[in-house]
Symmetry: C2
Subunit: 423 residues, 2 copies
């Protein structure tokens, strides 16, 4: 008998019917002989409704109070889920993040987990009860104020609890069957992967695969906690994320884990930057001060005649305005010519641990894009990933062409990425 941690997202508990369906699954897992801990998100649109209320009373609510408000969402879903389980004859007790021992730093809205002390959860399990824990929330170590973990917070809560409880597995339930070789809404022949490594999943998540948040995968890798991504709407096996023992046969076949894409970025180009020491540094310093995370960065070789260069980079679209303002304030100091802003771009990434030992992957990728008439605007690579920035309108074509070129839609390969929620 082991410990299973299950996490259900907002779409799985969107209404009373969903809650009852999930309750049934949980009771089955318990009856199968496991100790069961469940992490749950807020019901469907609850969080959006609460944010809407906050906006009605204050244009810039204090972080502490916004966290207090938003944590009401999980409080509602977890209590209802515990009731529904109790109704099936199985005792269940719900716990807030604070009660479950999720200790965080004090960064409201994006708190980081510092420690997990799940004493009350262990006690509940020992007494034979199922423990339901509010995802996305914790309590700050210093001030004892309630905090929220920000994007990917509920998944991270689940993995962190699983690690602290030394669970056998952390099951992440959503409305998707697992990790696919590409978004099935774009590539109909995309396949579900049976398994994927932490490393590949990290790259997938970083490149726009929404099924799991980067930080949750990072946490799982650090604690070597296997994650089973699966659907709460079916009984099918999903995708196991772990450091699988690599068989030689596998390596030969699965060069590529999948194709991910991301339409959430924008591109800024600073035109005519004087090509001397420190100018580029000043630009990135200003963006860093504005708390903006950059993704890809490209600097052209300067034309000898002018001694000016262009610097392009991508960033989350939501940060576009702030970044442009920060750069505009720098115009006189740096002396660049102009700023260009383009939010009609998309990023397409090819990911696979196998590409390390297979030369020619890059060439094949670019050839496939060229054949599909897709123009490449920027390129960035890592050891197990190649990403390109293309016109937003060409993202679907680029994903399909790449998926086909690498024979991902043949019967031999399994599958990667889409859907999911941010919380």
């Amino acid at each position: 008998m082991g410990i299973v941690v299950q996490k259900y997202g907002g779409s799985s508990v969107a209404d009373a019917e969903g809650i009852k369906r999930v309750a049934q699954r949980i009771v089955e897992a318990k009856k199968a002989g496991n100790d069961v801990v469940v992490v749950v998100s807020a019901m469907g649109d609850t969080t959006d409704e609460l944010i809407d209320l906050a906006e009605q009373v204050s244009p810039l609510p204090a972080g502490r109070e916004l966290d207090m408000l938003l944590t009401a969402g999980e409080r509602i879903s977890m209590a209802l889920l515990a009731m529904a389980i109790g109704n099936l004859g199985q005792e269940a007790r719900s716990f807030t993040g604070s009660q479950a021992g999720v200790i965080t730093d004090g960064a409201h809205g994006k708190a980081k987990i510092i420690d997990v002390t799940p004493g009350r959860i262990e006690k509940a399990l020992q007494s034979g009860a199922v423990a339901i824990v509010a995802g996305f929330q914790g309590v700050s170590q210093d001030t004892k104020d309630i905090t929220t973990l920000g994007r990917g917070g509920s998944d991270t809560t689940a993995v962190a609890l699983a690690a602290a409880l030394r669970a056998d597995v952390c099951e992440i339930y959503s409305d998707v069957d697992g990790v696919f070789t590409a978004d099935p809404r774009i590539v109909a022949s995309a396949r579900k992967r049976d398994r994927i490594s932490y490393e590949e999943m990290l790259e997938m998540a970083a490149c726009g695969a929404k099924i799991l948040h980067l930080r949750c995968v990072e946490y799982a890798r650090r604690y070597q906690m296997p994650i089973h991504v699966r659907s709460s709407f079916s009984q099918k096996t999903g995708t196991w994320i772990a450091d699988h023992e690599v068989e030689v046969e596998d390596m030969e076949q699965a060069i590529i884990a999948g194709v991910a894409h991301d339409r959430s970025e924008a591109k800024i180009t600073v035109v005519g930057v004087p090509d001397k020491v420190g100018e580029a540094a000043r630009i990135f310093e200003a963006l860093s001060e504005a708390q903006i995370n950059l993704d890809m960065i490209v600097q052209n070789v300067s034309a000898a005649s002018t001694n000016l260069t262009d610097i392009s980079f991508t960033l989350p679209r939501d940060d576009g305005q702030v970044a442009m303002s920060a750069l505009a304030r720098l115009k006189d100091e740096v002396g660049y010519d102009s700023l260009l802003y383009d939010d009609r771009i998309g990023k397409v990434s090819l990911i696979g641990a196998g590409m390390r030992s297979h030369p020619g992957v890059t060439a094949k990728f670019f050839a496939a894009l060229a054949a599909a008439g897709v123009n490449i605007e920027m390129i960035s690579t890592s050891e197990i990933r190649i990403s390109v920035i293309v016109d937003e309108a060409q993202v679907d074509d680029a994903v399909s062409a790449t998926h086909t070129a690498f024979e991902l839609d043949s019967d031999e390969v399994e599958a990667v990425v889409y859907g999911g929620t941010g919380r």
Copy 2:
């Protein structure tokens, strides 16, 4: 500079506009030089909506989980209120019952306050912030589980916090201007009282005046905490509840504090009970075991010829079914003839500390009722109260006739009772 505790009910914070209006009031109280602690109920219909959700997932939810669910309501309103205050440039911090140190027993849904340890509230006040506290909730001493206080819980939270903080006054805000001599919806000429004693207010509350719950007034009397009942929709002075120093002049004028009425009770008559020792006791024992609180009890003298008696009593209508079932099970054992159930009754009560020294009040009361054609079904009295049970359809007439007979609608007297919420 003193400490003021203000309590706002659900109707005062029903929407964003209400919350902003209340925030303004709070900031005014703070600017006037007070330390301000605010106890707030859930917004308008939130509690009903949450109960509705609970009913959708379970017909009989566990008390622990129902409390966890319902406390989300105050969490939402208090966070929004803190944001709205922050928006006006005044720092405000919200605290759950648990964070505010409201320690209770473990009776979910009807927990009693055991202790109040408001260390975090005092700290917030010392730092210049307004403290917002969730009403209606606490944390159980033994299990550290979240509890709710049941009916009148938010008012009681406010008085308990005021007592623990040694506040100058506990202001209870609702949509009513104060305590009236009768329900203004029935008696248009009813007057607001400027002040009323704890003793009178206790009788008013016990007799159906909904403006303050019995237990809140009891708590205030025990700790001699003055309560100021007033409207959040106007700046008018409301009614002060305290042990006022009685001036002789006052005594002469205000014999009667007001007329209260209650339509929430039902009457049960056990017909033909053998008039021997222990039979009546057996009946009341059974009702007590069923957790039913009786109000008025009347036993007729038995007719000598039959040696049988009738026992009538009133009880909350909501308990009618349970009581009838409990009594039905007793039929063979006690050997009574039959049970009668009447939920078309109303209780009209005349209350006033002055009636202690004024004989003739009862006669005047009954004469007024007779003149209005109101038939009296049952009578009960205390030192400062006379209550009668009448036909439900005659309650309004009885209240008006009594109000006029005691000259409460003349200019000389002030006023008592109505409206308000249960939470």
